[in-house]
């Protein structure tokens, strides 16, 4: 074999094995894991077969697709705790309940304690594993910020991972918690961030650039409005009055897109297909720390959004619309006049010098 390397230190980095300990036993629906199986950029197979040159070998321990059961499956958890898996990425899916108020029971647990025969709580696992993990990832809005199980009047005291471990938490490799919000997290956002972290652990990429809510900046810096294919309608002051057949801007029907950081309108839901306002569904703000409480009722217009959309509707919008429509109809929707039959060439062609 020639000793060509496609990335620096390829031979060395490909020797690293990064384990992914993926806990779905927060207060979760497993939706982030299920959605992840539909990812294509990269796919789960891409990750575990190492399609990118130089990427460390990835071993994913996730209950939704694992071959092993019971103790065989739990072995990775015991090994991670014993320091035998290094490095490993700890992923939490689901919100963290408050086990200080659980009476003598549990709100969320995984595996059975061999000593007591009682379930081991998810919080106990977090306490054991987080300090040993090279990177800690919260996937889905439940794990990142609390999400639906943490809405008002919930009995479990649910919260996000950073609320539990502390917003200034640093992993063994010095990284803050990495949040990938979304309900569920957009499939490619999950696998792509995971790939990035694995490359970082292999020394091939810098630490991920995270914003104040610990989201990867390159995925979450734009709002839904800033990337929505219906955004142009709002610029022209045109708003849908019914769901479905009316394809104009949805804010008056409850879409929260103008104030929501999410890349689904750009990326689509899977393989570029689907999404929310780009398909016709209102954005319900499922990626946001204030979700769901601050956005309910979902189908009502946001008060400030209403002010903004009325301004668009009654000031700039009609003017922009009038001149654009006129320009389109009179100019851009009409072919240049020289495209015609006849014995005279009308294109302005001159064989000896260029037109000025």
């Amino acid at each position: 074999m020639a000793s060509v390397e496609f990335v620096p230190r390829q031979k060395e980095t490909e020797q690293v094995t990064a384990h992914v300990i993926w806990m779905t036993t927060g207060l979760s629906c497993d939706g982030d894991s299920v959605a992840m199986t539909s990812a294509t950029s990269p796919s789960l197979e891409d990750l575990i077969t190492g399609v990118i040159p130089g990427m460390p070998r990835v071993v994913v321990h996730n209950p939704v697709l694992a071959y092993e059961n019971g103790q065989d499956f739990m072995q990775a958890w015991w090994d991670a705790e014993a320091g035998k898996l290094d490095p490993f990425v700890l992923i939490l899916e689901g919100s963290v309940p408050n086990e200080e108020i659980n009476g003598e029971g549990h709100w969320a647990a995984m595996g059975t304690d061999p000593e007591t025969g009682q379930p081991i709580t998810t919080n106990e696992w977090l306490d054991r594993l987080a300090p040993k993990a090279a990177a800690v990832v919260a996937v889905g809005t439940c794990a990142t910020y609390g999400g639906i199980p943490a809405m008002a009047n919930n009995p479990t005291g649910a919260m996000g991972l950073a609320d539990y471990l502390g917003w200034d938490f640093r992993s063994k490799a010095g990284l803050p918690i990495v949040n990938i919000p979304g309900c569920p997290a957009q499939p490619d956002n999950t696998t792509e961030t995971l790939l990035y972290l694995v490359l970082h652990l292999g020394g091939l990429a810098p630490a991920p650039d995270l914003d104040e809510a610990l989201r990867p900046r390159w995925l979450f810096e734009r709002t839904v409005r800033e990337s929505c294919n219906r955004g142009g309608f709002s610029e022209e002051g045109l708003f849908a009055t019914e769901y479905g057949a009316d394809y104009r801007c949805l804010v008056k029907l409850g879409c929260k897109g103008p104030v929501v950081k999410c890349n689904v309108p750009v990326r689509g839901w899977q393989s570029g297909i689907g999404g929310c306002p780009n398909v016709g569904g209102i954005c319900m703000a499922c990626t946001m720390p204030g979700f769901p409480d601050k956005f309910m009722p979902f189908m009502d217009e946001d008060r400030w959004g209403g002010v903004a959309s009325n301004t668009e509707r009654f000031t700039m919008g009609p003017m922009v619309r009038y001149f654009r429509r006129r320009n389109i109809a009179k100019k851009y929707d009409v072919e240049p006049e020289h495209r015609t039959r006849g014995r005279q060439l009308q294109t302005g062609y001159q064989p000896r010098h260029y037109a000025k």
Partner: protein, 593 residues
């Protein structure tokens, strides 16, 4: 096995406690705790536990009812869209709104795509990993040796020469059929997203209809993927038949793995917009027009297909779950809209009061309650299961004999399915006969045939939807007002079985919202009368065929029994403890343990 009468002798009966916690390749948290008699190769006792509680029905009290579908979708990460749909059907009843026909077709197209996705990924990336070469080598090496020599009957259709070749195709992340299915699960979810926006928590499924902007392009994108799926299904069903028949033939008695009496529930699915008006008072009629017929089977007899009667037979019991009773709480509904009396144990009247506590298998050990069917003929609470969804749906639909859309027809004893020609394969006909037994293999087989069933219902609704779009009727949503007071119910089928949402609205807000997914029916714990739940019952009936002894026991037959129900427990199962704790060693003559 039992052909030779062995002389009676004193021998050791070794009973071990074995636990598998968690059970993987399902959605959610499930533990199975058993006592196994290794001398007689039998499971003696089984407890199924779930270890996660979130309290949806608690924090939904007081919210705007129009938020219910957005919130309840989040109950489950694989049946989220089924919840969302059920909630919208429920809200349609409460608000008295009927969507335009295209809206109803859009619901059906989205949900058939969901079944196509869900049954594919669960069959061949989760459940059938229990039948893959790697697994069979570890648990039943002599069976694998036979499989290597056994030609597959339908190899000319699916391309696998021997049964062992099929098993190799199912090896996780290396088998070609496993990998193909993973990709099938992607484009079928694309089909879902065309109408639902996102999978599994949709953005466009609404009370009043579908908010996707539906055009010719939407229909075309769906059509080409659907035809690709038909081609896949034509290979899938005969391949599964070959695999499952091999187990039944080579391991006599395998039809007792996961066996239970045929006690089934099915709420029906896919309303026909020509008949449905979402009015409770007419639910008996429009329920019977569904493309999956609702019904209840008790001891192998179809006792009703009437959704009103079905609604009134539902009871929620406690017994082994971490909740307090609601005898002293408010009664929300005394009569249904037809004047029929409603029980205090009915979902409309349930109040959820969680009480977390230590797990004790002699008392409380699960977060899953115990839904039952009240049979007034015998004054008993019958423990029914969903057969993992397809088994009950096909059983009821076939027996009822009401469904006929030409290429899909119920005969009273079977379902006749005719699949259209596809890129490289001619038309194909399939017949699913009502099986004699309700067991693991037949649940798995039904799921395979249901892939074809769902695709055919999808095709029918696509053609009907196209008529609307071609006629320019592309409105898919109608407006409504939320009433001050209402009681309502949505009946639907999640991929893995019955799904109901019961709602009470007061002063324009949710006063009570009770979702009952398939899992409480299947994974339920022992009820107040001591009746075990279906997983428990099915595992307790399971003979052990695994060749490993107690030292390296995998519990594969138990895994197959449990997974045949397509467990989904974001609402709880777990298997752990390795070599097992010896519970008791007793001396008793063989066969009398």
């Amino acid at each position: 096995m039992a052909t030779v009468e062995k002389p009676r002798e004193k021998r050791e009966v070794l009973v071990k406690e074995m636990s598998w916690d968690p059970i993987t390749r399902i959605v959610g948290s499930l533990g199975i705790h058993t006592e196994i008699d290794f001398a007689n190769q039998q499971v003696l006792k089984c407890y199924s536990t779930s270890m996660v509680f979130r309290g949806f029905d608690i924090f939904m009290k007081g919210i705007d009812p129009r938020d219910a579908h957005f919130i309840t979708s989040r109950i489950c990460g694989i049946c989220g869209d089924n919840h969302c749909t059920t909630s919208c059907l429920n809200q349609n009843m409460a608000y008295g709104v009927k969507p335009p026909k295209l809206g109803d077709y859009a619901f059906n197209l989205a949900e058939t795509a969901d079944y196509m996705f869900d049954h594919a990924i669960f069959n061949d990336c989760m459940a059938n990993v229990d039948f893959c070469e790697q697994m069979v080598k570890e648990t039943n090496p002599s069976l694998l040796a036979k499989a290597e020599k056994t030609p597959a009957e339908h190899s000319s259709i699916h391309g696998y020469k021997t049964i062992a070749d099929i098993m190799r195709g199912l090896n996780p992340f290396t088998g070609d059929f496993y990998l193909e299915t993973l990709n099938v699960s992607r484009y079928t979810r694309e089909m879902y997203c065309l109408f639902g926006g996102r999978h599994t928590h949709p953005s466009t499924i609404m009370p009043g209809g579908c908010s996707a902007h539906i055009t010719h392009q939407t229909m075309t994108d769906y059509y080409v993927r659907l035809m690709r799926y038909f081609e896949y299904v034509k290979r899938t069903v005969p391949m599964h038949d070959d695999l499952y028949d091999f187990f039944l033939e080579e391991l006599p008695g395998y039809d007792m793995v996961g066996y239970r009496d045929t006690n089934l529930v099915c709420w029906g699915a896919f309303d026909d917009p020509d008949y449905v008006d979402y009015d409770y008072r007419n639910m008996t009629e429009w329920g019977r027009r569904r493309f999956v017929t609702p019904g209840i089977a008790i001891n192998g007899e179809l006792v009703t297909t009437d959704l009103v009667e079905i609604n009134l037979m539902i009871r929620i019991l406690l017994g082994s779950s971490y909740f307090e009773g609601w005898e002293n709480e408010e009664t929300y509904v005394t009569q249904d809209p037809l004047g029929n009396p409603v029980s205090k144990d009915h979902p409309w009247n349930k109040t959820t009061i969680p009480k977390p506590q230590k797990r004790d298998f002699a008392d409380k050990y699960s977060w899953v309650v115990s839904p039952r069917i009240y049979d007034k003929r015998t004054d008993t609470h019958v423990c029914c299961d969903t057969g993992g969804g397809p088994f009950a749906r096909q059983w009821v639909t076939a027996k009822a004999g009401l469904l006929d859309i030409g290429y899909l027809k119920a005969t009273g004893e079977s379902l006749e399915m005719h699949l259209p020609k596809t890129a490289s394969m001619p038309e194909m006909s399939l017949t699913w006969k009502v099986p004699e037994k309700s067991n693991a293999i037949e649940r798995d087989r039904a799921r395979s045939y249901h892939q074809a069933y769902s695709a055919l219902v999808g095709l029918y609704n696509l053609e009907k939807g196209l008529e609307e779009v071609r006629a320019g009727r592309n409105k898919s949503w109608n407006s409504f007002k939320v009433p001050e007071e209402a009681i309502s119910v949505g009946f639907h089928e999640a991929a893995r079985g019955v799904l109901s949402h019961h709602m009470v609205i007061r002063e324009g807000k949710v006063a009570n919202y009770q979702p009952y997914p398939p899992t409480p029916w299947n994974a339920s714990s022992r009820d107040v009368h001591g009746t075990p739940g279906p997983y428990e019952d099915a595992v307790q009936n399971t003979p052990i065929f695994e060749e490993n002894g107690p030292e390296n026991f995998k519990g594969i037959d138990i895994m197959r029994a449990v997974r045949s129900f397509d467990p989904c427990l974001p609402c709880g199962v777990h298997m752990y403890l390795g070599q097992g704790r010896v519970k008791k060693v007793v001396h008793t003559p063989t066969g009398l343990a």
